[in-house]
Symmetry: C2
Subunit: 186 residues, 2 copies
Amino acid sequence: MDDAPTNYSAKAIEILEAAEIRIRRGGFEAVSYRDLAADVGIKAASVHYHFPQKALLGAAVVDRYSDKVAAALGPVDLTQATVEDHLQRLCDCYAAAVQDDGMICLGCMLGAESKDLPEAVSAAARRFFTWLLDWIESVLGERADAATLAIQMIGTLQGTMILAVTLKRPELMDKAADQLKRLVAV
Amino acid sequence: MDDAPTNYSAKAIEILEAAEIRIRRGGFEAVSYRDLAADVGIKAASVHYHFPQKALLGAAVVDRYSDKVAAALGPVDLTQATVEDHLQRLCDCYAAAVQDDGMICLGCMLGAESKDLPEAVSAAARRFFTWLLDWIESVLGERADAATLAIQMIGTLQGTMILAVTLKRPELMDKAADQLKRLVAV
DNA sequence: AATCCCCTATCTAACGTTAGATAATTTAAA
DNA sequence: TTTAAATTATCTAACGTTAGATAGGGGATT
């Protein structure tokens, strides 16, 4: 998931992290430069120094998030771990988002909003999902239904996340993990 | 799904419909009284005559939406139709949202945003999901795993909807329908 | 000397909301 | 039955607040 050779300053990274959390909580529209500035202890105008426009900030947040997810999932290496192990890592990744932070994942949030986002941001979200689908497909290997399964898996995880957060029942993520096991076992 | 005996004026209903579409496209935050006013051909201040506060408007939109979904799904009557028929109606309902309008459903959008919504709105969203889960559970009848299945089904539909809209691939909803059939067939 | 980072100050546009006025309609009283 | 009162739906105008964004300046570090 390498897109930008961007080496951000420490403060820029603080801003990106704060923005990720705020987007995941309320969506892109709900994030303001003033709030971000307060989060990282500078003034709103200074945030513009690091990210001149909000759309660029949004895209940067998605790219950084994509890198973090890629790192958390790790490379696909079926000589080191089974298909089930790989998928378990995927489920853990999503479950952690909900259970640790009580938030849905960034892709889910931006996906929902995607019709109204600046093009740079929705494009980044689209890239993220495409990459994630590829990751799953390569985990599933040569199966003819790999593409379909990948979609069903991401769909299941995303949707369950929304239910878990809305109904304040984080344990629902377990049911998504069960469902994924069932999907792959056919 | 009866909550309010509210009999809205024709204009109020226009506003509710416009708001539903705008919320489903960009989320609650992205809806403004000015835009709604332009949609229905009056001024922003006049919208306040019908819905004094935005949170009340939001809750009213959800309640109305809930009624519409309830009407589309119809009552659970297993003497008139099979379990599969009932679930097919559910899938059609969601698929239509994406394929006809290119939008995710209202519950999905508000669910994603729920951490940042006015309490009245997120409560309405929670009510909607709870009702929908009940509907599915009563379709599934006495099965011990009815509650789990209901969650998995809604999760699958919601998540696939996000993928379908984000990736601009409305046909993905078919895969969700397949998955539901598989879930119930165990 | 130049670059980096943040500041103050300001801008325009938009936000939800309120006040007060105005027609048009409906209801009640004379 | 005409008149008076009240209600309905909208308007214009403005409120205070917040949005993203820009210009220009001031200390640091290199």
